[in-house]
C-alpha cells in the first residue's frame, strides 16, 4: 500500500495544564494544497510544530510517508512564521535561502557553489533573484516571506508545512505565493498551510482542515468549508452575512 504523506494518530499537546490540541487524528492525501483554519489559539501552529517534533507531545504518533519524522526529515520542508526570527541578523537573502540545503549537507560538509546555485534558482522561482545580495533587514515584509518560501523550496521536499505565509504580505507577494503553491501541487507535492483569511480559502485550497483544539472537520474544500462546519469551529464568534453562499464572512472578537 502506498503510504500517505502525513498520518497523525491521536495527537494531544498541552502547554502547562491547558490542552492546545486534543486527540487529533487524520490522514493527508498526496498532492493536495491543504488549508488549516481555525480561531486564534486553536492550535494551528502547534499542530505543525508538534508534527515536526519541535515541541513535545503528550500523546500521539506522527508518520511521514509511513515512517517517523526523524527518518524522513529530507522529505519535509518548513516555513516558520516570519516573526519567529531576528531579521537584523547579519546575513543576506541568498545566504538565508542556502540554509535550506543544510539538512542535506550532514555534519561537516560546508555549503559550496552547488548549494548557492540551487539557492539562486529558488530565489528566481519567488521572483527575488535581484535581491540575492540584499541584507535581510532591508527587505519588506512580503520580500522576507518570499525568502522564507525560497528557503523551503531549497529543501527540495515532498511535504511542506507553512505557518501563516500570507500574514502581513503585499498583494504581489500573495499572488506569488499562490502561484508557487500551485506549482508545487503540479509537481505532486503536498502542502499544509496555516491560514487566517477565510475569504480566500475556497480559492486557494483543495482541502481544508477546520481546527479548534479538536479536529472539527477535514476534507475536500467544497464539502467541508460550509457555514455549519465553520459555525462549529468558530462558535459564536463568526457572523455570516450571506447565509446561502457563505462567501462573505465577518469574524468578531479578533
Amino acid at each position: 500500500m502506498h503510504a500517505s504523506p502525513l498520518t497523525i494518530r491521536d495527537l494531544s499537546v498541552a502547554y502547562q495544564k491547558k490542552p492546545v490540541l486534543q486527540g487529533v487524528t487524520f490522514t493527508v492525501p498526496e498532492g493536495k494544497l491543504i488549508g488549516i483554519v481555525g480561531p486564534n489559539g486553536a492550535g494551528k501552529s502547534t499542530l505543525i510544530k508538534a508534527a515536526l517534533g519541535l515541541i513535545p507531545r503528550l500523546s500521539g504518533d506522527v508518520s511521514i510517508y509511513g515512517k517517523p519524522y526523524a527518518a524522513q526529515r529530507k522529505l519535509v520542508g518548513y516555513v516558520p512564521q516570519r516573526e519567529s526570527v531576528d531579521w537584523d541578523f547579519p546575513t543576506n537573502a541568498l545566504d538565508v535561502v542556502t540554509m535550506g540545503r543544510y539538512g542535506h549537507l550532514g555534519w561537516f560538509k560546508r555549503p559550496g557553489s552547488a548549494e548557492r546555485k540551487i539557492a539562486m534558482e529558488c530565489l528566481a522561482k519567488v521572483g527575488m533573484e535581484a535581491y540575492a545580495d540584499r541584507q535581510i533587514s532591508q527587505l519588506s515584509g512580503g520580500q522576507q516571506q518570499r525568502i522564507f518560501l525560497a528557503r523551503a523550496l531549497a529543501q527540495d521536499a515532498k511535504l511542506y508545512f507553512m505557518d501563516e505565509p500570507f500574514v502581513g504580505v503585499d498583494a504581489a507577494t500573495e499572488k506569488a505565493i499562490v502561484t508557487l503553491l500551485n506549482e508545487l501541487k503540479k509537481q505532486g507535492k503536498t502542502v499544509l498551510v496555516v491560514h487566517h483569511d477565510l475569504a480566500t480559502v475556497k480559492e486557494y485550497f483543495d482541502w481544508v482542515m477546520l481546527l479548534n483544539v479538536n479536529l472539527i472537520e477535514f476534507g475536500p474544500t467544497e464539502m467541508t468549508f460550509t457555514a455549519d462546519n465553520l459555525q462549529r469551529t468558530y462558535g459564536g464568534r463568526l457572523t455570516m452575512l450571506d447565509r446561502d453562499t457563505s462567501s462573505t464572512l465577518i469574524m468578531n472578537g479578533r
Partner: protein, 290 residues
C-alpha cells in the same frame, strides 16, 4: 619582552572573546560574561573548602565547574520560556548570593574574594611563566588562553553552519535535524571555558569588555556573520595594542586602557558606520527631504 607578552595576551583574550562574543551579541546574551564573572564565587569557596589552599589551580577548577553550571542553567531557563536577560540575571545573582553565604559561614577569617583569588592583572602576565623540564616556555596565561582560543577556532570552524543557523532560526535548524540544544550548550560551554581561563590572568573587566564591545562594533560595520567575527577579532587586537601604549603613556591600568580604546572604536563606528552610522543616516534623511 614583557611588552610582547602583555600585548600577545591581550590579543589572545580579544580573539577568543571576539569569536564567541559575536554569537552572544546576536543572541542578545551579551552580558553572560559579566554574569559568569560574579557567579563563580561559590565555585572558588567550595574549591577552597575541599582543597584547603588558595592554590590557583583548584580555584580555577572550581570556577570552571560553576561557570559551566551557570551557562547551562541560563540556557535551561531560557529554553523553558524565561526571557534571556531575566534568565541571566536570576542565575548569576542567585549563585553570587550563595557564594556570599558560603564566605560568611566558613571563610570569614580568610581573605577570599574574587578580586584577590580569581581576577588576575594583565601587567603581571610576563612573570607568571611555566617551565617544562627546566625550560621556560613562556607565560602561563598565554598557554591557557591560547588553548581556549584553539578550542574555539576548531569547534566554530568545524560547525560554523550549525552555529549560524541555530543563532538565526533555531526552529528551522531543529526541523532539518540539527541538534539545536547540543550546539547551544556547546557555545555556552565555550563561553564559560574562555572567560574563566581569561579571568585568572587578565581580570574581569578585560574579558567582559572584549566579549561585548568589539562584536557590538563589528555588528555596526558589516552585514555578514563571517566578516563580523573577523572584524571583531581585528578590532579587539587593535584595542589591545593601542591600549597597551596608551596605558604606558598615561601610566594607567592596562586592561582599563584596552577596553577604553575598544569603547572609543565603538563610538567611532556608531557615528561613522556607512550602514548603521548615526551621521550617515542623518545625511541620507536630509537628502531624502531635499
Amino acid at each position: 619582552m614583557s611588552t610582547f607578552w602583555i600585548i600577545l595576551t591581550g590579543a589572545l583574550v580579544a580573539s577568543t572573546c571576539g569569536i564567541v562574543g559575536c554569537f552572544l551579541v546576536l543572541r542578545k546574551m551579551a552580558m553572560i560574561g559579566d554574569a559568569i564573572s560574579h557567579s563563580v564565587l561559590p565555585g572558588i569557596v567550595i574549591a577552597f573548602l575541599i582543597s584547603g589552599s588558595r592554590d590557583s589551580l583548584f580555584m580555577l577548577l572550581g570556577a570552571a565547574v560553576i561557570g559551566l553550571i551557570t551557562v547551562f542553567l541560563i540556557q535551561l531557563f531560557h529554553q523553558s520560556g524565561v526571557q534571556s536577560d531575566a534568565s541571566i540575571g536570576v542565575v548569576f545573582t542567585a549563585l553570587f548570593a550563595v557564594g556570599v553565604i558560603l564566605v560568611s559561614m566558613y571563610t570569614r577569617n580568610i581573605d577570599l574574594d574574587l578580586d584577590c583569588v580569581l581576577y588576575g592583572e594583565i601587567a603581571y602576565v610576563p612573570w607568571n611563566t611555566i617551565e617544562i623540564g627546566g625550560v621556560d616556555i613562556g607565560p602561563k596565561a598565554v598557554w591557557g588562553i591560547g588553548l581556549a582560543l584553539l578550542l574555539c577556532v576548531i569547534l566554530i570552524t568545524a560547525f560554523y553552519k550549525q552555529f549560524k543557523i541555530c543563532s538565526f532560526d533555531p526552529a528551522m535548524a531543529a526541523a532539518v535535524g540539527i541538534p539545536v540544544a547540543l550546539f547551544h550548550y556547546l557555545l555556552m560551554g565555550l563561553v564559560s571555558v574562555s572567560t574563566v581561563a581569561s579571568f585568572e590572568s587578565v581580570g574581569a573587566i578585560l574579558v567582559v569588555g572584549m566579549l561585548v564591545v568589539p562584536p557590538a562594533t563589528a555588528y555596526l560595520l558589516t552585514e555578514r556573520l563571517s566578516r563580523m567575527i573577523l572584524i571583531s577579532i581585528v578590532l579587539g587586537c587593535a584595542s589591545s595594542v593601542i591600549g597597551y601604549y596608551l596605558a604606558r603613556m598615561l601610566d594607567a591600568s592596562i586592561a582599563g586602557s584596552m577596553i577604553c580604546v575598544a569603547g572609543g572604536l565603538f563610538l567611532l563606528a556608531l557615528l561613522f558606520s556607512p550602514t548603521h552610522g548615526v551621521i550617515f543616516r542623518k545625511i541620507q534623511q536630509k537628502r531624502l527631504l531635499a
